[in-house]
Point group: C2
Chain length 191, copies 2
């Protein structure tokens, strides 16, 4: 195929939308963030990126910890709203219920089925972006999304969690249908 | 809702599947990776994570650069296969066509509509995981996914690119339907 060079632009889809929680000026604040990813399973490591001018980052720099709260498509209006206003101007803690996490300074958003408490282990500044590498200290998951088989806990499948994806054309998407299982697809190629 | 504590486990969905390219032992190698994310738009920054025991990482540590190649769901068998075998055992360069990028040591996977050349700017080691923070030096995009309006280039929408998502239950998914536009959803909440 004929490829065209576009320079140093970002064209990388899709991003899972999450709500990053931190305590700022004594109240729980949540920022809608798409710059968030798994960086390893064992150990459980994540990376998030925030603008240095934001409100949430103040609490993270202080506590060296934050929460990742994973919303569902049903919560899209709230997610979009929390991404369009700053905690500097709006007291977001008045709009949602929070529970303190086990780490000091980390609020968990009650309405999200999955809340992950994260402890910062590395930081990296790139111009005005502040990237935090963090380990997951504690995962809080709604009972409805956990099942137990032979003493082993199992998380619900992705479609049950129904997360929100965001793309650089400013559009939100749901997750689509399952299209294959790891290990089985490769067999088709070899065949 | 009643949440249960699961400890420091990873329960964070979904991950976009990409093929990370590097030159190792003189040949192009591609690793299927889900630990990859946007860490900022301007500047265009990404983060990826690789196991230190892998093959691809050798080329990245040497060149301090790599490519992110974004496959579509039609390429799932290849993606799954490249994730199930190591370049130590299989010469992946014999299975796909590559083109050299503009950065030394960075191969671009011809069959992928989007290839991003990335220059490493920071590294972070967490146990056996090696996290690379990198800036996008050059984006190569298939002409079919670029349109021009009033002299401005526009990337295709997410569904046209048709990327692959992966989840921790070892299942691949496609992207679902658009569910909203940034800024408009918030208005529903305020209303």
């Amino acid at each position: 195929m004929a490829k065209r060079r576009l320079g140093g632009v970002q064209c990388f889809y899709p991003a899972p939308m999450v709500l990053i929680g931190a305590m700022v000026e004594g109240r729980a604040n949540y920022a809608t963030v798409g710059d968030c990813a798994i960086m390893g399973i064992r150990p459980a490591v994540v990376a998030i990126s925030l603008g240095e001018a934001g409100f949430t980052i103040r609490g993270i720099l202080e506590a060296k910890a934050f929460s990742i709260n994973i919303p569902t498509t049903k919560q899209l209006p709230l997610v979009d709203y929390f991404g369009s206003v700053s905690g500097k101007d709006v007291d977001k803690s008045a709009l949602v219920e929070s529970t303190p996490g086990t780490l000091p300074g980390v609020p968990l958003l009650d309405a999200c089925a999955v809340s992950l408490e994260c402890r910062v282990i590395e930081e990296c500044v790139v111009e005005h972006r502040h990237i935090f590498i963090a380990e997951i200290a504690e995962a809080h998951v709604d009972e409805r999304f956990i099942s137990e088989t032979d003493g082993r806990l199992r998380m619900a499948a992705l479609r049950e969690l129904d997360p929100i994806l965001y793309t650089l054309d400013n559009t939100y998407h749901s997750v689509g249908k399952p299209i294959g299982t790891g290990g089985e697809e490769a067999a088709k190629l070899v065949a």
